[in-house]
């Protein structure tokens, strides 16, 4: 499923003194199979954008019965397009339930959404909700799906399935919560700051988990983050949001070439990009793709074939 957004704008509390323009004429295409990163400060509109992808925030035109006719003499605003696969999210009669089954969404601190008595029940929540009417999945099917989901996120079914989700450790809770989203095998998986609040090891484990999911389970993965290292190490392409607009839409290798421009926008750059810049100032050019491994390789090569 391909995600296409054109001229997408969104204002919170429209028409009141609290109005905040969160998205301003955003156009973005995410191809099937990408590991896509969305970068930006708090309040840059990145979370607002991803919540559009499964219809949690609706395109205004999809809520109105009749389209507003533009006044005469005024320029006609460009038409908003928002397609996720075959779903047209600007239409009123879009099947949002079917859409949400295809587009899984993991919110920030997903462990705070756990609620059921056992981990198994919690993970099965989405599975039961998305089941078609009259086709209730059997206990056996549910059990199998939950087992698979827990296994891929790295939890042991036998150990945790009958436990209360509140008795798990922090990292386990997050994994269980992610299992609760991916259990329906969504084609697109969107994660908002999946590694927030974890220690470096936990972060790496979560990113590894996402790669596993990307390989085996969800065709497209979109992560929202402000951690540059996370993006530079993992993504195939990424967009930078600033004040509701998309400023860059490039592969990380090209994006972090623009180290100085990003710093000017008030954004951090990955450690490797900082080192490349520092070396450049001293007249040493390192041409790497900004992953730690590649950077070390290239520097060692410059030093003379690896010491």
């Amino acid at each position: 499923m391909r995600i296409v957004a054109e001229h997408l704008s969104y204002t919170y509390n429209e028409g009141s003194p609290f109005a905040v323009r969160a998205l301003d004429d955003v156009s973005l295409t995410i191809e099937e199979g990408e590991f896509y990163g969305i970068l930006g400060h708090t309040g840059s509109g990145k979370s607002t954008f991803v919540q559009h992808l499964n219809g949690l925030i609706r395109v205004p035109s999809s809520l109105k019965k009749r389209k507003k006719k533009p006044k005469k003499g005024q320029p006609v605003p460009p038409e908003t397009v928002l397609n996720v696969g075959e779903f047209d999210l600007t239409k009123r009669d879009t099947n949002f339930r079917a859409l949400r089954k295809k587009v899984g969404m993991v919110f920030q601190y997903p462990e705070y959404q756990l609620f059921a008595e056992t981990v198994k029940e919690d993970v099965a929540f989405g599975l039961k909700n998305f089941a078609e009417k009259g086709e209730k999945p059997s206990e056996e099917e549910i059990g199998r799906a939950v087992r698979d989901a827990l296994q891929i996120v790295g939890l042991d079914y036998g150990e945790v399935a009958e436990k209360s989700p509140f008795d798990l450790s922090g990292g386990q809770k997050r994994r269980a919560a992610i299992a609760g989203v991916i259990v329906t095998k969504p084609e697109i998986l969107v994660l908002d700051e999946p590694a927030a609040g974890l220690d470096p090891l936990g972060k790496r484990e979560i990113m590894e988990l996402l790669h596993t999911l990307h390989r085996e389970w969800c065709k497209t993965v979109v992560i929202v983050s402000h951690d540059m290292d996370e993006i530079s190490e993992n993504c195939t392409r990424c967009a930078v949001f600033a004040e509701g607009k998309v400023v860059y839409d490039l592969p990380p290798k090209e994006l972090f070439q623009k180290g100085e421009e990003l710093t000017a926008l008030g954004l951090d750059i990955p450690l490797t990009a900082k080192l490349v810049l520092a070396l450049k100032e001293r007249g040493i050019t390192v041409d790497c793709d900004f992953t730690t491994e590649d950077f070390i390789q290239k520097v060692l090569a410059l030093k003379g074939g690896g010491a």
Binding site: Y12, R100, Q113, F125
Partner: protein, 270 residues
């Protein structure tokens, strides 16, 4: 992010917004007294005039102010109808058993409706123009005399402001949890009563947990800063009376005097 505007505070700069919250509270009390002291239309006219003045100087849109009436509309209409039907008078237009429509009855019910509307509009104007925080500050300051009888005024005000502060946080949190469960296919809109109640569980449990967690964190944070309650605490925002408050006070005093005089010298108009 999408901060639900708590209560009704309408954020503009105006004469009324800048008034001391204590004055506004006292003014509201005086206003309520004045409305009930007024026994004729002249007295009410004075009150209405003062309120129109206040609304004009508050820069809150008139429509927004009038919307406050919507909540009590049913009550107002209900009492009006009852008053018309059961209030007997000399000039009777229509009668059936104990029900009758008379000139006096109609006048009385119009009088009553105006009273209620003024009451509601005035109290909502207070919340439109005063943030909850400064309102609790004002209440704390006005209740200070109760400290003499060892009433924990400061603690009461603190409880009020924490409760008020938590409303937008918890409402945000509710939105977030609802979205998370909706993304997992939860459906809060369709189905019968039982189904709807069951659908609330996945929101309620995480919400309760989060409220307890936040309460714990806040308690610990206060403890870590050696919070000891009211003793020897200074205020970040000191309430001071200014020229605006003097004008407000004079207006309020003039209104109450006027209403009282009108009552004494013009009895029996209604």
């Amino acid at each position: 992010m999408k901060d639900v505007a708590f209560g009704q505070y309408y954020p503009v700069e105006s004469f009324v917004h800048k008034l001391d919250p204590r004055l506004k509270l006292l003014f509201l009390i005086a206003y309520i007294v004045a409305i009930f002291v007024a026994t004729n239309f002249y007295g009410l006219a004075v009150c209405a005039f003062v309120l129109i003045l206040a609304v004009a100087f508050s820069r809150v849109p008139v429509l927004k102010v009038l919307r406050a009436i919507r909540g009590v509309l049913f009550l107002v209409l209900f009492t009006a109808v009852l008053n018309v039907l059961f209030h007997t008078g000399e000039t009777v237009y229509w009668q059936y058993g104990i029900l009758c429509i008379s000139k006096e009855g109609i006048l009385f019910s119009v009088f009553f409706v105006i009273r209620l509307v003024l009451l509601v509009v005035c109290s909502s104007l207070l919340t439109y123009t005063t943030t909850p925080v400064s309102l609790t500050d004002g209440i704390e300051s006005l209740l200070t005399p109760l400290k003499w009888i060892r009433f924990p005024v400061h603690e009461l005000a603190l409880i009020m402001s924490i409760a008020l502060r938590f409303i937008p946080i918890l409402s945000d949190e509710t939105g977030r949890i609802m979205n998370a469960q909706k993304a997992r296919g939860a459906d809060f809109e369709t189905g019968g009563l039982i189904k709807k109640i069951r659908a609330v569980v996945p929101i309620l449990i995480p919400l309760l947990l989060s409220a307890f967690r936040r309460a714990d964190e806040l308690g610990e944070a206060m403890d870590a800063r050696c919070y000891m309650g009211s003793k020897n605490r200074t205020k970040y925002k000191k309430l001071t009376f200014g020229w605006r408050d003097a004008i407000g006070f004079l207006l309020g005093a003039a209104m109450v005097t006027g209403v009282v005089l009108l009552r004494v010298y013009l009895t029996g108009v209604v």
